[in-house]
Every structure is written in C-alpha cells, then in structure tokens.
C-alpha cells in the first residue's frame, strides 16, 4: 500500500480511538474535571504521566541531540528522569494529602496569601504557555511531513482533537487518552530501535545492543567503533565529555528540579486515590519514561553510526572513500526534499565529504585530501528519529507508526499543559479570587470555556510562533526550577516558612533567573537587546542560561529563609496544616472540598 494512504489509516485510527475515549470519559463535576475524581489507578496514572511528560521534543528531538552531542547529552537523560525521584520523595505524596485541585491553590493556602497564589498562577501560565507552543508546532510539523497537509491545517486538526477530549472530559478524558497515547508512542519508538539494534549488533534489546560488539564479525564494540569513526573525521569523541563539568552538573540539576516543579506534571499526582498511591505512581511513571529514555541513547548512537558509515564508505582520505552523490540512498533523497538534509559539492568531485571543518588540525589534513569544507551543510537533528525506519529499511507501516507516535507525544503533552492552564484560570483566578461564591456547575462551565480559550491561544501561537519559540524550554524549566519547586518544598519541609519569606523567595529566584536568561538571549528574547554574547567566555563562572535555574532555586531558598527569620512566624493553624499534610492518615477526609 502507498505510504501516504497507510499513514492516513494509522493516524486516523489513533484519532478515532482518542475521540471514542473522550465520549466514554466525560466529566460531570469539577472534581472529575480537575483531578479525574481522584480515582485513577497508580499504574494507569504512571502511564498517563509518562505520556503527559514525554513531549514532541522527547520523541522526535532527543535522540538526535544525543546523536550529535554524545556523552554531553546525558544531561537530558539524567535531568528529565532524576526529577521524578525528587517528585516522589519531596512533593507528590504531601500535595496529594493536601487534596485540592491545583498547584497555586496549595501555595495560596499554605502561605495564607492570595498574592503568593497569584505569583504561582503567573509562573504556571508563562511556563505552560511557552511549553505548549512547541507541542502545537510539533503537531503541525508531523502532519506536514507525513501527510503532506499544510502546517496550519495540521495545527487546526490537532486543536480539534484536543478540544474534543479535553473540553468534554477534563482531566478524566485527558488521563484515559494519555494512556492510549502512551501505548502508541512507545510502540512507535521501540520498534524501529529494536530493528536497528538487531541490524548492527545482532541483539534485539537496544539497551544491551549499545554496549555490544558490532555484528560484522570484527568484534569491535559499537561505542568504540563510533568513537573511532567520528574522531577520524575531526569530530570530538562520542563518549568523551566536552562541556565544562560545572555547567553539566548545574544543567542536570536545573532540569531535575524544573521537572519536579512543573505544574502539569505535579497535578497528575492529585488524581490517585491515596497518598501511598502517589509515591508508587511516580515510580510507575518513571518505569514508563525509562523505557523510552534508555532506548534513546541507543537510537542516537546507532543513527549517528549509520549516517557516518553511509557517507564515509571507505578509508578517510582515499580517493574513493566517500559516497558518490548520484548513488545516494532513497531516504537521503526523501529528506533532501524537506530541506532537513542539504548537500553542497564544494570541491566538485561528485562525492560527499562530511567532516568537522571547524577543527583546525583536521581541516588542514582534509585540505591535503582535496576536500574544501564540510559538504553536508545541513543535517537536521530531528531526522535521526524520523528517518530511522527508512535508514533501517523497515516496512511502510513502521514509518506510518512513527508519524502517529510523534502526534501522540505532542497531543498528550499539549492536553496536560492546557488542563494546567485552564484550571489555573477557572479555579485559582475565578473561583479563588474573583468570584468565590460561584456554584460548582458554573465553575465547571467556566473551566470548559477556559480550556477552549487556552486551546485557541495555543493554536494561534503554534501557527504564529513568537521569535523566542526555540528558547522557551529553557524558560519553562528555569521558571519552574527557580520559583515553584523551592516554594512547594519549603511549604512542606519548613514549618516556619511564612508568607513574606515565600513571596520574597519566589520573586528573587524568578527575577534572577529571568535576568540571567534575558542577559544572554535578549530582553524578552528580542534579538539585539542581549547585554552580552551568549558564549561560554561571557557566562558567569561558565554557567549557561539553561543551567541557571538551579542557581535561581538556591537564591530562592536563601532569600526565603533569611526573610522568614526576621518576619512573624506563620499562624498556628498553618503550622497544623503542615503537620497534617506530613502524615498520610486522613487523606480521604481531606478531599472534601
């Protein structure tokens, strides 16, 4: 069957499934809309959390990042998984015991302050909106590439699907569609990986294959061969550390505490029946995430090796050592038409030379071979996952599956973010501040309207991404790491932390992180307004803007502690509240809202 027809069928079938679930899982109360009636089984919640968490970036871009950064990409692998340990140990069980609907609600109640709640709402909305833009873009791109529909139409279809299950079902509808989306995306990710691992190493498990010998009979280990192949062409060794240790350390820490502080992830743990379920559910979430995150390093390394071997067919420097352009494989041509692969025959020999011309020593050597610069002028990282099935010559249905998987990853994350945004608006702003006496029915209606509004805004921004769209992941994690995570943690672990300390801490953490990011990336990301070039030489102690969230969090902790020491202790009933959330007993009573 034609690839495109097949893709339509597979994607269409998954969409029909999501809509079917939406009709089955309608929400009839605010408790169902915000927290799925706190009736989600911990394993099911773990699976939904994994889909919620793994975005278009995890599915499409991460393996590509690993392929080109090698060891240095470990920051993403450890950073985006280690956060779940913090979540399980430091936040999830206590916030579940607190038993309400949103993250700002906890901050507002714990610090007896509408001001604190408002700061939390603002952090949440900024972090979530910036994050959701990327998902909407991902939906548009996936449609454009696999189904050849215009980008805007792709975004509109995606909006329509999310609209149906998120507006109808709220958290309940989102949870059950996310479970289905997880199954689709993990299947689509692991099938090509298994085939490629079998191909290269003879071992079907990518996690073992990455540490195995090549199956070509040479007995050379895959990682050694990869190191050899890339260093032969002037690139840095794959398994070697290239960035500064301090920066790698802080970036990992920022991603970890950012992960633990992201509201759309935290709120997933409000949906399980018990405190003990919240703990174990974080473990299940990480199991389901780890299946993809331990496969990704294998996909990255193997795809890189395949790419290098395809182009450098013989000995480096030999006259016939490079692929003749006219003999390039079909997948190469396919991706050239998308513009994600670009070749330019600089020395006019009709062969492709792909090497690191930024490395002076190697560039000099290359010149002696008659090479006049790297001829692969563009190798987009994203094709490492997208082109994988074609490179490994897998059947068409696998390619169709990858399209459906990418869409599932983007849609599931978008829905979780949109829910966090709409509940902050209807529950924290409307019910919590503007109209406290609103009836439940009206609040439910308001939350549906807020959801619809959030979808429209996200779709609009996805189609017209502001110039800073590429920078926003750093912003979302920086905000969550420097403002929300410390406030939540101190709210639980420091009984004496008071309103003044928490607000001062959040503002100090937030401002310092924002200023540091804007300093190197331009105020509000407006090009030309940066105060210093974004390069390691200018960074404070070599800390990149993406890695500053951990420093912002430290500033938050210090300022909050200092301010709380010199201001009045929190009222007696707040200290009782803290004692109450520290023990699991009585969680059933706490949910009565």
């Amino acid at each position: 069957m034609e690839l495109q027809t097949l893709t339509y069928i597979v994607v269409g079938a998954t969409f029909a499934l999501y809509i079917g679930i939406a009709i089955w899982a309608r929400a009839s109360s605010t408790r169902e809309f915000y927290v799925a009636g706190t009736g989600v089984h911990p394993v099911a919640n773990g699976m939904a959390t994994a889909a919620d968490w793994m975005s278009a970036a995890s599915f499409i871009s991460m393996a590509g990042l690993i392929a080109f950064l090698g060891y240095d990409a470990s920051v993403y692998l450890m950073g985006w998984t280690g956060g779940y340990v913090l979540l399980a140990l430091l936040l999830a069980p206590y916030l579940r015991k607190f038993g309400k609907f949103t993250v700002p609600e906890f901050i507002g109640d714990r610090f007896y302050s509408k001001g604190a709640r408002l700061v939390a709402v603002i952090c949440l909305i900024v972090a979530s909106i910036t994050y959701v833009i990327g998902q909407m873009k991902g939906v548009g791109v996936a449609f454009g590439r696999f189904l050849e529909v215009p980008f805007e139409i792709g975004v509109l279809v995606g909006m329509g699907i999310v609209f149906i299950y998120a507006v109808l079902g709220g958290m309940k509808g989102i949870t059950y569609t996310q479970i289905a989306q997880y199954c689709v995306l993990i299947f689509a990710y692991t099938v090509p990986a298994i085939f490629i691992s079998l191909n290269l190493t003879g071992n079907p498990l990518p996690q073992i294959g990455l540490g195995s010998a090549m199956s070509d009979g040479s007995g050379v280990l895959l990682l050694d061969k990869l190191d050899q192949v890339v260093t032969d062409l002037g690139f840095a060794a794959y398994t070697a550390q290239k960035g500064s240790s301090l920066n790698i350390f802080l970036l990992t820490l920022s991603l970890m505490i950012g992960t633990a502080g992201l509201p759309h992830v935290i709120v997933r743990f409000f949906t399980v029946p018990k405190v003990s379920d919240a703990r174990v559910s974080a473990g299940w979430a990480l199991v389901f995430i780890a299946i993809l995150y331990t496969t990704a390093p294998a996909v990255g390394a193997m795809a890189r090796l395949n790419l290098m071997d395809t182009i450098q067919t013989g000995e480096v420097g030999a006259a016939d050592g490079n692929l003749v352009y006219e003999e390039r494989p079909q997948w190469f041509k396919n991706w050239e038409t998308t513009g994600l692969l670009q070749f330019e025959d600089k020395n006019g020999d009709g062969r492709i030379q792909y090497y690191n011309d930024k490395d002076e020593a190697f560039a000099a050597k290359a010149a002696s071979y008659g090479w006049e610069g790297n001829e692969m002028v563009k190798v987009d990282r994203d094709i490492m996952v997208l082109a994988n099935p074609e490179i490994a010559q897998l059947p068409n249905w696998v390619i169709a599956l990858v399209a459906a998987g990418g869409l599932a990853a983007a849609l599931s994350t978008a829905a979780g973010l949109l829910l966090a945004i709409s509940s902050a608006i209807s529950h924290d702003l409307l019910k919590g501040m503007i109209a406290p006496n609103i009836s439940e029915k009206k609040e439910l209606l308001a939350s549906r309207i807020a959801m619809a509004g959030a979808i429209v805004v996200a779709g609009y921004l996805g189609m017209n991404p502001p110039g800073f769209a590429a920078q926003v992941v750093a912003l979302a994690f920086g905000l969550a790491a420097s403002s929300l995570f410390p406030a939540l943690m101190m709210g639980i672990f420091n009984k004496k932390m008071n309103r003044e300390g928490a607000i001062a801490g959040m503002l100090a953490g937030l401002t310092s992180t924002l200023v540091y990011i804007f300093w190197f990336k331009g105020w509000f990301f407006i090009p030309g307004t940066e105060m210093a070039a974004n390069s390691p030489a200018n960074w404070f102690m070599g800390i990149s803007p993406e890695a500053f969230g951990a420093v912002g969090a430290l500033i938050n902790f210090l300022v909050a502690t200092a301010v709380s020491k010199v201001t009045a202790a929190p009222p007696e009933e707040i200290q009782h509240l803290v004692e109450h959330i520290r023990v699991p007993k009585g969680a059933a009573a706490a949910v009565d809202h």
Partner: protein, 86 residues
C-alpha cells in the same frame, strides 16, 4: 506515647529515609555520571565504559529502583507509626 511525639518521630524517620535515598540519587548521577566519569570510564562493564553507562543508562535504572524502594519503606513506616490510610 502522645500523638504529637508519634508524629514527630514518624517525620524524623521519613527524613532519614529521604536523606539516604537522595544520597544514592546524587552518587549515581552527579558523582558517577558527571564528576568521576573519566575515572570510571577506565573500567568497563559489558561493552560500556562505566562512567558513560551511569550517565546514559545506569542512573535511570537506579532512579526507578529508588522510588519503589522509598514507596515500599514508607508503607512500612506508615503502619509502624499507625499513620497509614484506611
């Protein structure tokens, strides 16, 4: 034993457990995966260099085990101090 004292002891036991888990969390990722990566890379397990393995595989496996270990031990503590849910 008064209820308040019981609550405090439970919390102390919890903090101790959290401290132990976070120490392991730190060692496998930051110490083995980042700070000591070069030294550990001199050792190999299977076809992996050990430091690289911790950074891209091992730390993730340990994280998973840690969370289940914590959940299991906390359930026991909850019962021991009689603060478990019905």
């Amino acid at each position: 034993m008064s209820e308040q004292k019981n609550g405090q002891d439970y919390w102390k036991a919890n903090l101790k457990l959290i401290g132990l888990c976070l120490a392991i969390w730190f060692v496998v990722s930051y110490l083995f995966g980042i700070i000591l990566v070069d030294q550990l890379n001199a050792i190999s397990i299977g076809g992996y260099r050990l430091g690289f393995w911790f950074a891209q595989q091992g730390s993730i496996y340990v994280f998973v085990v840690l969370i289940f270990f914590y959940a299991f031990r906390m359930n026991r503590l909850d019962r021991q101090f009689d603060v478990h849910e019905e």
